[in-house]
Amino acid sequence: MTTTSDAPLLAVDHLRTVFRLADGRDAAAVDDVSFHIRKGETLGLVGESGSGKSVTALSIIRLVQPPGRITGGRLLFDGRDLMTLGEEDMRRVRGRRIGFVFQEPMVALNPVYTLGSQITETLMVHDLARGAAGMKRAVELLEAVRIPDPARRAREYPHQLSGGLRQRAMLALALAAEPSLLIADEPTTALDVTVQAEVLDLLRDLRKMFGLSLLLITHDLGVVAEMADRVAVMYCGRIVEQGPVAEVLGGSTSLTTGPAHPYTRGLLASVPDGRSGTRLVAIPGTVPALGRVGAGCAFAPRCGDRFDPCTTAVPDLTPLGPGRDVRCYLHSPAPTNPGGGR
């Protein structure tokens, strides 16, 4: 890490989160994951189901539930290691400093309280405003997330809102305490494409308005291309590639621009390109289940570029350029003593 003035707001360092399987073994859902987010920056965390992207988010706010647990790594947030905080301190970080929104707003919103009272409660818990001032602030927040007629909506219950409005209400709730980091886990996946576009535009404006850093978790490369400054691609619990969006998702496949990892290339190629009548480019096989990953690179069984070292040991994250890493033997020297390295 360079020692510029813009030190990262969040630095995740060799994070490892395991889940106890039915047979008693531990399987790593998140393994050796390192990334950082600077102030005002948006990092897109991309992966398919089972890639570990949501568990990574839950690990950062330390909300991993048994049979899962964090077994290693550091979570440096604004200079403090979240891993060392007690539950009481952690609760103050959650919601106050780190806000989060999920795919399904009904999980986060309490169905028996009005939107206004849920927001005022958050403001009260964090000692930011109470009483009439709290309600005034709640209406302002609903207005900031572009909910029409915010004063009336503040008196309504979550079930009275459409999916898009609920997602906005959850954003208002997440932003109530003016956090510096917002974690958004598939915030637009359940929405129609026109509503998704509105929510993405809103997120972009809020980022500016609140000076937010954003960890945007999604499976949609289009959303990442539009929203993120940098992208990290996860597969089976590990980051296989990360770097600036323009480089990783850029057009060419030369060493510096374009996807470097065969999985990223496959993901990009499998997005329909709109040339009618042509077959899609598919990645063969399926994502292995947790605990079913063999030795070596987890993507090796599906990889068209596989060669000998791929199935013997997990490749290290190799730098390709500034802020650009890839975990693949195509780009790093193969181990001289296969299997003995780690």
């Binding site: 189901s49 026109t194 576009a197 998702l249 329909p272 009618s276 899609l280 399926t286």
Partner: protein, 293 residues
């Protein structure tokens, strides 16, 4: 132009809503005066947001949902006039693949039986012939022909959707309604299932009504596209025409909402004012291009 395989005219489906104590129940029009045709061997894409009526339209076509009014012709059959037993017989010609491969397969049935069941219902073949047919179907959709004794939970999402396709193909239908067949699948697996559907169409001469919300996918695999909004068709045209010269304001808004895959390349969003929606009939604005403007 040749006679279409499917011709739908003025299709209406109303659902009754429950009224309160002092309120009368008012019917909701989920499908409102919808007309379209599908030619043999083509793929018609049906797009629109959730609640636009696209799934209900697909189900009305197969009479899985009973239409309120309108005409549905399938070859020379008047689908709406069929009695229950005639409909059951006719169903072998039109089948459906559902969105959710997790809930659409009976978890207590072995997958071999799931695929064989339509053959039993339609009393086709002897036991041995049916078994052989099931093995052939498994091979056709890219599954291990020996997988029959397994249960659905032993398969991944993509494999389950292949089982759903195998079941739909069992009776050699000519039309398959694909209702969001890949939207529940992982990105890297979606392409496999889409390619399978394309291959099968070529090999078996299938006709598809492809219901989807992924516009990029629709552009790539559909011959023609019908855009639905609040129960009405607002535009029907060849896929290229829809994407390069959309005419209806809603179609324009929908297309402008697709995220660009090129980093830093932001398209101008075109808003659509739902309050200003004016339900008009479709009219021909160019050859093969209908729009409700």
């Amino acid at each position: 132009m040749s006679t279409p395989l499917v011709e739908v005219r003025n299709l209406v489906k109303e659902f009754s809503t429950r009224g309160g104590w002092f309120r009368r129940s008012a019917p909701v029009r989920a499908v409102d005066d919808v007309s379209f045709t599908i030619q043999t061997g083509e793929t018609l894409g049906l797009v629109g947001e959730s609640g636009s009526g696209k799934t209900t339209t697909g189900r009305c076509l197969l009479r899985l949902v009973e239409p309120t009014s309108g005409d549905i012709r399938f070859k020379d059959l008047d689908v709406r006039a069929l009695s229950a037993s005639e409909l059951r017989k006719a169903r072998r010609h039109f089948q459906i693949v559902f969105q959710d491969p997790y809930s659409s397969l009976n978890p207590r049935m072995r997958v071999g039986s799931i695929v064989e069941e339509p053959l039993i219902i339609h009393r086709i073949g002897t036991k041995d012939e049916r078994r052989a047919r099931v093995r052939h179907l498994f091979e056709l959709v890219g599954l291990d022909p020996d997988a029959g004794p397994k249960y659905p939970h032993e398969f991944s999402g993509g494999q389950r959707q292949r089982i759903g396709v195998a079941r739909a193909l069992a009776l050699e239908p000519s039309l398959i309604v694909c209702d969001e067949p890949v939207s529940a699948l992982d990105v890297s697996v979606q392409a496999q299932v889409v390619n399978l559907l394309l291959d099968l169409q070529k090999r078996l001469g299938l006709t598809y009504l492809f219901i989807a919300h992924d516009l990029r996918l629709v552009r790539q695999i559909c011959d023609r596209v019908a855009v639905m909004y609040r129960g009405r068709l607002v535009e029907v045209a060849r896929a290229e025409a829809i994407f390069t010269s959309p005419a209806h304001p809603y179609t324009k808004a929908l297309l402008s909402a697709i995220p660009s895959m090129k980093p830093g390349d932001r398209l101008e969003r075109i808003p659509f004012d739902a309050a200003a929606f004016d339900p008009r009939p479709l009219k021909e604005i160019a050859p093969d291009h209908l729009a409700a403007i």
